[in-house]
């Protein structure tokens, strides 16, 4: 076991020591080494996961995907339990000191953390070897250089910055521990961050295969845990510093190892670095650089971050970056460093800085000519070509838009239709009533009943009709005709009476024509049908008055005057009488109303 353990460690060390870009090319030996290293790490973690189904990582004959899944299987429950523990410790910091097993356990944990980080490295490389894009491809972290920045990364980045913030607070709470602790924490964090960047870069290399692992999450969790662990650790005191010191030394070894393998001297000669006791960083940076990052880029960025002369260098640096890093991160770093350098006043200064920079920007914008969208009426000549297509133009439409036929609209229409149907209220075309163009033919109904009149009576009737047409009884079958003839007879009678009132005998028309079938005697009734009262009355009954009737024209002037005076007298008397009557009548209604 010890042997294998040693072998595993050896493998791990070898893995770490290899030239990073060599991972890009498929290399069976390297693959073997990585597998051995993974197995070692797996067994190292095994004591901490009681529920893990696998005792050992099975690597013989398994491909990368399967090995990865085994590791996943082990670490998933572990992560959640760790997170829970960390949260618990975060709430009750005093319990940390109660953990007596702390130094070794912590160290192991710390190692584990490192291991995890390196594990992730290892697996990345392994996967590269096996030409599978899956795995911890989607490493989070600040995407400084990569064009294909994913949002996941950003959020992870923020998480990391949050972690850093928390750390900061922790730091503030514990300011008494001295520079090394701060630095250490910075270093650690930074190292982790830089590791991630390495992986980022590697991922960028393998991005041509275009795969993104689902391991983002796990990595995030890793980081979270790491951050929280760190936070948790901060809150410890002396034990931590001892522990940290040991780990620092490990890390330093690591970095120095790298530095030595690379051409340190040459880099140092570039002279843009100020040695401020931050030697540890160099190794890491150089590693990064060796991975192929742009020198200038790294140098500039790091310089700005760590030496924090924001006023002089920030803008220049920013201008020279082709992609800005997360502002929050930078700012966080800046803040930390400023705090280190100047104390609490720097926050305010930094805010002032921000405001000043904003003011300058705005003033500059004011001096420049405005964009065409802000210039009021603009013709096509005054704006760049096709620029109206890119801008979101908004104008009032003066037409009501077409109605969208939703379910409710259809339902309302159908309700209305149903209502109309039940009412029977339709707007149909009405047929106009036709005027009768022909007289309706009289339909003769044959009556089956036996005639009530005897034959003799019928003959009698016919004879009477012939003799005296007027006395014939009505023999119309149609009710209406009968009624009409009755009415007309009455009318005829009245008209005859009118005619008889001023009786004039019928004029004799001498007519020399032969008439056959004329009766021998034609007696005309001269007895009048009606006689008016005027004809019946005797003259003295009609007229009343005295004799000596004179006409108007026969009168003399006095006679005429006398007649007029009499008439007036009579008229006046009648008028008075009438007025009297009216007064009487007027009184009564008034009484009624009152």
């Amino acid at each position: 076991m010890a042997d294998s353990k040693d072998a595993g460690e050896e493998a791990l060390r070898r893995l770490i020591a290899t030239f990073q870009p060599s991972f890009l090319a498929p290399n069976p030996a390297l693959s073997e080494t990585s597998r051995a290293a993974s197995r070692h790490l797996f067994s190292a973690l095994r004591p901490f996961c009681p529920k893990s189904p696998l005792d050992q990582l099975l690597i013989d004959g398994f491909d990368a995907e399967q090995i990865w899944q085994q590791i996943d299987l082990q670490s998933q429950p572990l992560l959640s339990s760790l997170r829970r523990q960390v949260k618990h410790f975060a709430k009750n910091p005093e319990e940390i000191s109660k953990l007596k097993v702390v130094p070794l356990g912590k160290k192991v944990e710390k190692e584990q953390r490192e291991d995890w980080v390196e594990e992730s490295d290892g697996f990345d490389e392994e996967l590269e070897d096996d030409e599978e894009g899956e795995g911890k491809g989607g490493e989070e972290g600040m995407d400084i250089e990569d064009e294909d920045e994913e949002q996941g990364r950003e959020s992870d980045n923020e998480e990391e910055s949050e972690g850093e913030d928390e750390e900061e607070k922790g730091e503030d709470g514990e300011a008494g521990d001295g520079g090394i602790e701060d630095k250490f924490l910075k270093i650690d964090e930074l190292a982790k961050y830089l590791e991630k960047e390495e992986e980022n870069f590697e991922k960028a290399e393998e991005d041509t295969r275009g795969k993104k692992g689902a391991d983002d999450e796990e990595n995030t969790e890793d980081d979270d845990d790491d951050d929280e662990e760190e936070e948790e650790e901060e809150e410890e005191s002396d034990e931590v510093s001892v522990l940290l010191g040991s780990i620092v030394s490990d890390f330093v070894l690591l970095c120095l190892h790298r530095m030595l393998s690379l051409d340190l001297a040459a880099k140092m000669q570039q002279g843009t670095w100020k040695m401020q006791g931050m030697d540890l960083f160099y190794g890491v940076f150089l590693t990064l650089e060796h991975c192929g990052w742009d020198e200038q880029f790294i140098l500039l960025l790091r310089y700005e971050d760590f030496f924090g002369d924001k006023g002089k260098y920030s803008k220049k640096m920013k201008a020279q970056l082709h992609q800005e890093s997360e502002g929050s991160d930078e700012e966080d770093d800046d803040m930390k460093f400023k705090k280190q350098n100047k104390g609490t006043a720097s926050t305010h200064q930094k805010q002032l800085e921000k405001i000043h920079s904003k003011i300058e920007e705005m003033e500059k914008a004011n001096l420049e000519p405005k964009t065409w969208t802000m210039q009021g009426e603009v013709t096509a000549a005054k704006r760049p070509k096709n620029s109206a297509l890119e801008v979101d133009l908004d104008f009032e439409h003066n037409v009501r838009p077409a109605p969208v036929i939703t379910e409710e609209v259809t339902a309302s229409i159908e309700d209305m239709i149903k209502k109309r149907i039940t009412e029977g209220n339709f707007n149909d075309v009405q047929k106009a009533p036709k005027l009768p163009s022909k007289v309706p033919r009289e339909v003769k109904e044959l009556d089956d009943n036996k005639s009530k009149k005897g034959l003799a009576e019928i003959y009698e009737q016919e004879y009477v009709e012939k003799e005296d047409p007027t006395s014939a009884p009505l023999s119309f079958r149609d009710e209406q005709k009968q009624q009409a003839s009755v009415l007309f007879k009455k009318l005829g009678l009245k008209l005859d009476a009118l005619a008889h009132f001023s009786f004039a005998p019928k004029p004799v028309i001498e007519d020399m024509s032969v008439q056959i079938n004329v009766p021998a005697l034609a007696m005309e009734e001269i007895a009048p049908v009606a006689v008016s009262d005027a004809a019946m009355l005797a003259p003295e009954e009609v007229f009343e008055g005295k004799g000596d009737i004179k006409e108007e024209t026969e009168l003399t002037k006095e006679e005429r005057k006398r007649r007029r005076a009499n008439k007036k007298r009579r008229f006046k008397a009648a008028a008075v009488k009438r007025m009297g009557k009216k007064v009487q009548e007027g009184a009564l209604p008034n009484q009624m109303n009152g």
């Binding site: 439409h397 003066n398 229409i413 159908e414 239709i417 707007n427 075309v429």
Partner: protein, 293 residues
């Protein structure tokens, strides 16, 4: 034939000019009639003519009582004769448009569909007048989607121009069994929310495309107006249980009509008088409604 047409047109114009005077007379008679009915004194301005007008009122029957406008005179004889419709398209129709026109020929009873070919509009109108058609309906499209409908009433009648929106044809419904066959009975008509004079006029134009239905027919054609957009729906109803249960089944195409012009002449008369045209560029056009209140 040509001279007869000219004479009839002149007569029509003369009657149109008389219309103003007739309307005045009609108003006076109406006032007198109202006053008589309510027992109120006759308005003073009519005192002189009252006797003569009263006599005329007594002699009137329902035909003469209503003032005849030249506008609706066009539909004076429709009640006596069933409408005869010719349906056709713009030139070179696409397949979906042809299908839509085929469906419309089932919607309008007594309708005939004709291929457009290369005929000129004036030819079409001439031949329709000769063959005693009452209406011609033209359908236009945009890239397969029907987007215009022109209804032209024939002897000198008015022409209404509609835009079609939200067209759903029977052919788009893939499930043939679900939609079933289209019955060809004369349908009942429903015109909802046509309250202004222009609304009434539009309703008349659309109404006289259909013949007089039997009272018990189950087929319903609905034109429902909502803020100047007229929805066309075509249903069959069934009464299952008691009087309250009515089940509507939608058949036939559904579309929205938007009136944009009425001209007082046939389609081929380009210089005919415009009775009404939409004005969307006015500032208040968004607030105004022309077919309803």
């Amino acid at each position: 034939m040509l001279r007869r047409n000219i004479r009839m047109r002149r007569e029509y114009l003369y009657r149109k000019s008389l219309e103003g005077k007739e309307r005045l007379l009609y108003e006076k008679k109406r006032k007198i009639r109202e006053a008589l009915q309510e027992g109120k004194p006759i308005p003073t301005e009519l005192r002189n003519e009252e006797a003569a007008l009263r006599r005329e009122i007594d002699l009137e029957d329902e035909n003469t009582a209503v003032p005849r406008t030249h506008i609706d005179d066009e539909y004076a004889h429709t009640a006596e004769k069933d409408p005869k419709i010719l349906l056709t398209t713009s030139r070179d129709p696409s397949a979906p448009l042809q299908q839509f026109v085929k469906e419309l020929s089932y919607v309008f009873p007594n309708a005939q569909r004709m291929n457009r070919g290369g005929q000129v509009i004036s030819e079409i109108i001439e031949s329709c007048r000769a063959h005693d058609y009452t209406d011609v309906v033209l359908v236009h499209e945009h890239r397969g989607v029907p987007d215009g409908l022109i209804v032209c009433h024939l002897p000198y009648g008015p022409t209404a121009y509609f835009g079609l929106l939200n067209v759903v044809t029977r052919h788009e419904i893939k499930d043939k069994k679900a939609i079933g066959t289209m019955p060809e009975a004369y349908p009942h008509l429903i015109f909802d929310n046509f309250s202004t004079k222009l609304g009434e006029r539009t309703a008349n134009i659309l109404k006289y495309l259909f013949p007089v239905p039997k009272p018990d027919t189950k087929r319903i054609v609905t034109f429902s107006n909502q803020s100047d957009y007229v929805s066309f729906r075509h249903h069959i109803y069934e009464k299952h249980g008691g009087p309250k249960s009515i089940e509507l089944k939608e058949i036939g195409p559904r579309f929205e009509l938007r009136l944009y012009q009425i001209k007082l002449g046939t389609v081929d008369q380009a210089e005919a008088q415009i009775e009404w045209v939409i004005r969307p560029y006015m500032n208040t056009s968004k607030k105004r409604k022309f077919l309803s209140d």
